[in-house]
Amino acid sequence: MEAAPAVLAARNLRVGFRIPGGVMQAVDGVSFELRRGETLGLVGESGSGKTLTSLALLRLLESPPAELSADGIDFEGRDLLGLSEGAMADLRGAGLSMIFQEPMTSLNPLMTIGRQIDEPLVRHLGLSKRVARERTLDLLRRVGIAGPEMAVRQYPHQLSGGMRQRVMIAIALACRPSVLIADEPTTALDVTVQAQILALLRALQEEMGTAILLITHDLAVIAETAHRVAVMYAGRIVETGPVAALFEAPLHPYTEGLLRSIPRITRERGGDLPEIPGVVPAPGALPAGCAFAARCGFAVAECQELRPVLEPMGGGREVACWRPRHG
């Protein structure tokens, strides 16, 4: 796994919004590498900039108002930022795909399921409509939809949430992309359906060797699905590393706090949950030092003044903290 080459690498990715009196930096220098066949979990709470990051990678942000900049977004040796809109459109859905949080609204309500899956096949693989439809039926079967002949003629509103998300996955994986970006793919679903969808993603990944960038707020989903994880806070990655090590011994106090504050099913009912005091700072109103300092129980004077950067800690782990835990 470690030796696999990076298929997608973002270097110093920044997304800002122009506001009166300056620019609000919602994503502030995010860098990561996604390797072939692996799942990288990008975890963060609301407002951490994780969704903006994902949209920025595919250049799906509307500009204006959003302003995207980076030292590079390398996809299979090409810099996505340098591509023309036409070349970018050729890549979307072919080499780089994305699935979204809301399977309810992400499908065109006036188009049959079949046509929506046919589209990328015709567009990118240049298949005839008939051949594309055969592929579509096969895809639907692969994502676990029983009776694909009927499903292709149905409209999104006739399917359940879980089925719609399966259709989204079929669309995204239709052209066997090397990278799939999944933005909160199971947040809108029930736990039993979430388990199905996560299992499906795992199975398809093993089969196709797709690299997955899994964006979620749910650490448990990361723990079950991802190989490596990057934790975002206030627009920056504060910690990254292999899943097992990070969950075993988190280095950043924020990661630690996050992990400890999850209510778990335990035999003995515990006392109070360890909580992270305070609130997430508003983007655009970030302090000079570490953004987490105000909520951190281990903060020292240094944390208020100087912003820590990601430092390698060995074992493929990095942390942006002046006082890392378990260090």
Partner: protein
């Protein structure tokens, strides 16, 4: 025997499906279809279930925010269904609700001060300076600064808004509080703050909670007893330990198995439950769970199982538990005995006299399967 504070008997809440044109009724959504619940004073009851299970409708029907179609809701010994508006109004002081979405549950055009003054105004409790005093007391109670009264909901974060929602519910010092997914819209770090607050307030004010949630972790953290709902019915209910560590209904088992754990490497053993929750407008025949049930029998698709009381207030509605173990053992203390890592059985208190706590007898559990646990213990002496 202490009387329950709230008893729900045979509650049904059906919504007609009306055609848009001629307003004919063309079907019915059985959102709640025969639910029995009892909540003891000072107890926290959790209601869990997936979307479409009717858990939220149960909560709202208890408060008559949605009028139930049938059944009884007995609060402090008085049936609230059909109660005239005046008497209902008086009862409203004693039961309150906290909603899921802290944005939509606060009127965006009112200051926090006015939102919190509303309960006192409506019930004519106080006015003027007294009112301001009461509002600042409330703010202090939920850990908000007094200046918050002058500001509008959008100036606060989700967690702070939820504190306001809790403060409003507590304004009239209710005995019963229903939390309808009170922490589901919040980030994990904030969720912990609110859960701790709810727990603290329960202790301080002697509240009785009904906590409705789809998050089993949250429920296990603060509930004493749990009811699991599926398609408008309670399929299993019982003490927290029994539901989470000795579930009897295949649905409860599946639900527990589907919960992702924040511990890498502990992959699920079971295959995930197949299929989706069916539409409550068109529920399956017999046991509503049978199309997805890994252990469904011929009988399940025909006959809806009746709730059967097991030992220790554990009730399950499943044909797997219809037979020999059913019926007799309700209420009272009970023993759960384990041999090594296997659940052994339940025993009535008088039976336990014949058994030394350490002398475990092996007996296969009723449904023919055994469950794995790390520790053996008995519910009373924690041996």
């Amino acid at each position: 025997m202490v009387e329950p504070l709230l008893r729900v008997e045979g509650m049904r809440t059906h919504f007609p499906i009306v055609s848009k044109l001629l307003r004919r009724q063309i079907g019915v959504v059985k959102a709640v279809d025969g639910v029995d619940l009892a909540v003891m004073p000072g107890e926290v009851l959790g209601i869990v279930g997936e979307s479409g299970s009717g858990k939220t409708t149960v909560g709202k029907s208890i408060l008559r925010l949605i009028e139930p179609t049938a059944g009884r809701v007995v609060f402090e010994g008085q049936d609230m269904i059909g109660l005239p508006a005046g008497e209902m109004f008086a009862l409203r002081r004693k039961m309150q609700i906290v909603f899921q979405d802290p944005m939509s549950s606060l009127n965006p055009r009112m200051t926090i001060g006015r939102i919190l003054a509303a309960p006192f105004e409506i019930h004519g409790v106080a006015r003027g300076a007294d009112l301001r005093g009461l509002v600042s007391d409330l703010l202090r109670l939920v850990g908000l600064p007094e200046e918050a009264a002058q500001r509008y909901p959008h100036e606060f974060s989700g967690g702070q808004r939820q504190r306001v929602g809790i403060a409003r519910a507590l304004a009239l010092r209710p005995r019963l509080m229903i939390g309808d997914e009170p922490v589901s819209a919040l980030d994990v770090s904030i969720q912990a703050q609110i859960l701790n607050l709810l727990k603290r307030l329960q202790g301080e004010l002697g509240l009785t909670y009904i906590l409705i949630s789809h998050n089993l972790g949250v429920v296990s953290h603060i509930c004493d007893r749990v009811a699991v709902m599926y398609l408008g019915r309670v399929v299993e209910s019982g003490p927290r330990e029994a539901i989470f560590f000795d579930p009897k209904h295949p649905y409860t088992e599946a639900l527990l198995a589907a919960v992702p754990l924040p511990e890498p490497g502990r992959r699920r053993v079971h295959a995930p439950l197949a299929g989706d929750v069916p539409s409550p407008a068109n529920p399956p025949t017999g046991c509503a769970f049978h199309p997805r049930c890994p252990r469904a029998m011929g009988r399940c698709s025909v006959e809806a199982p009746m709730p059967v009381a097991l030992a220790g207030g554990h009730v399950v509605a499943c044909h797997l538990h219809g037979g020999r173990d059913g019926g007799a053992r309700t209420g009272g203390s009970f023993w759960i005995l384990f041999f090594k890592k296997e659940v052994v059985s339940f025993f009535e208190k008088k039976e336990t006299k014949k058994l030394h706590p350490f002398l475990f007898r092996v007996e296969r559990s009723v449904d023919g399967c055994s469950r794995m646990w790390d520790v053996a213990y008995c519910s009373r002496c924690r041996c």
